[in-house]
Symmetry: none
Subunit: 190 residues, 4 copies
DNA sequence: CATGAATGAGGGTTCATTCAT
DNA sequence: GATGAATGAACCCTCATTCAT
């Protein structure tokens, strides 16, 4: 297959492989055999680095969350005005979603594959999403410094609109949800 | 198992069984063997009524969509004022979500399990969601008769807020997303 | 599907359908479901006319044998000289085998699918082949009236060469076996 | 079942088992479940060594072909005169065919079970048969060194007569085809 | 005479994980 | 630290046949 760089360590090769496979095929549809075949790693080596498939997905989630939050901060930096920072998140999403291989939010896709709310992946993803919501709250608090009472409500609503954009791009395989949610965000911030 | 009423026809027993299993466990995690065991139907009988597991889920989706739209219309009827009809959708959601077995929107859960956007279940669910969006548009057009230009944008935003409520109730295993989306809907409609 | 003429009786439709399917796909690979679907006959109707799949194949063999022997006699009639009559069988085979859908001898294909020599299909096919061998013996007895001792041996050898032509056309997916066997037949008859 | 020696490796046990089952029952009539039960191997172990049932039969064919060609060369060695070497093939066949478990040529039986000429088993078997035909050609070229023109034609005819002997032993469940083909071979070589 | 629903047994294949080396 | 063989359970689906209607 030669789908991964053999100079990476086995663990890195595995993580790089599932980065692609979990996102393109989903968690349940991606088997251990496919992972080790494409990562060019022995089966026993896999279990030396990850105690189970679930522990792999947990690491995958954690890595993605760090990358995501970091990316958002990079995007934010480009603008000085608080409101512009918020809207930039939606514009950045447009860029992302236009890629042909775009398949929605990896976290939202994953969370739907675990039926138990108490499962570790579900809990971890909920944490990540909460982190993101708090991040938006901070942006909002700067954008509308006076209206202290409704700040939090507006921030949560913006978070929900961002989430629904992520979701509905995938549902409808179309970009209109971004514009629609951006419209509502503008209304809420004015 | 005796989990279903034997007086129903095998096809009815199957549909009744997956109504529960697909929602509680998901599509991929629910195997044909479990379905036929709990429906008390022979394997070959299953395939007499459904050409494949996919065709079963398509029927399951169609049935649920009809029931959902009908239910929404029943809810709407209870109110005379247009804006109240819209907000009633969210209040009704609160009732639903308070049930212990609530696991989010069956359609959104399902659509995440199919990686191919062109797959029939994904396309059918997108259709159902579009139907629902149009339904909301009709409600909104009555609620804000004057503002013709932004009617459609507001309706779409309300649809997105409803969707994100459905989604985030599941993500966070909590009801706060309903209040947050309702708050934004009120803002948009005022 | 509309693959058969509905004006035929159900039994005729079944026989016409398996005529195609048994030859193109083989006996084991052709399921009852496919037969009744393409013959447009109800499953219970099938079992009203044929007590089992085996009894169907027996009837199929009998019909084909009658048609085959009749066809050979038609071919033979075109020639007056005994030796020419024999060689005509091979030339006729060339015509048949050039059809794209040619897949070898239906009887030889079938007999390989039944592992038990005592099975009825195997026994019936052996009978058919014996009938054909005797037919060739009669042709040979006219072609070499003098050499009474070796007549039978030569006839059997010609039968074997015809059979191997049938077989090897299929094995090698090529027509050269006909010419090779014809060459040997000429040697034996000179 | 205890039908195989547990000291062999699983792969060896599988090959030993199908050596018997494919020959006695045929390819289609032999299921994976029976193979693994009699080989005393877990199902997943089977698929570790063979990617599919088809790949197993390909290996089975290759092994048998090597054994067959080797055996023929052993038989040939026993005679010094070229013509005797050829006739020895037929006498050796008589020995083989007298065994009670004799069921004809494994390759010819198998090839009839695959309807597609382009299928790998069919192609591999055609190759094996070609190899054997060339082997006979070499023997014939030594037996009739002078008649260069007809050497190839005679060799091919002898190949066909050997094949039809193999075939018709099975068809008629009787040994007379060997004598008949041997008679013709003698005629062609004299 | 004709029907379609229902069946038990089996088809080939893949799952996540463990083990001895 | 790395390996590949081995596993039991489960995957979705099809088989030829029988039954009540």
């Amino acid at each position: 297959m030669d789908t991964v760089n053999k100079q990476l360590t086995p663990k890195q090769r595995i993580l790089k492989t599932v980065d692609r496979l979990f996102y393109q095929q989903g968690y349940l549809a991606t088997g251990i055999n496919q992972i080790i075949a494409e990562a060019q790693v022995a089966k026993a080596s896999f279990y030396q680095h990850f105690s189970s498939k679930e522990s792999l997905v947990l690491e995958y989630i954690a890595i993605h969350n760090a990358e995501f939050l970091n990316h958002e901060k990079q995007v934010e930096k480009k603008f000085s005005e608080p409101k512009a920072k918020i809207l930039a998140l939606f514009d950045d999403l447009t860029d992302f979603a236009q890629r042909t291989e775009y398949r929605g939010c990896p976290f939202l896709n994953l969370t739907a594959e675990f039926s138990q709310p108490e499962s570790k992946p579900r809990q971890l993803i909920a944490q990540c999403k909460t982190e993101f919501r708090i991040y938006i709250e901070q942006l909002v608090s700067k954008a509308i410094p006076g209206k202290n009472n409704s700040q939090s409500s507006i921030a949560t609503a913006i978070y929900l609109l961002y989430e629904s954009a992520l979701l509905e791009i995938r549902v409808h395989h179309n970009l209109w949800p971004i514009e629609a949610s951006k419209f509502a965000v503008n209304q809420l911030l004015s």
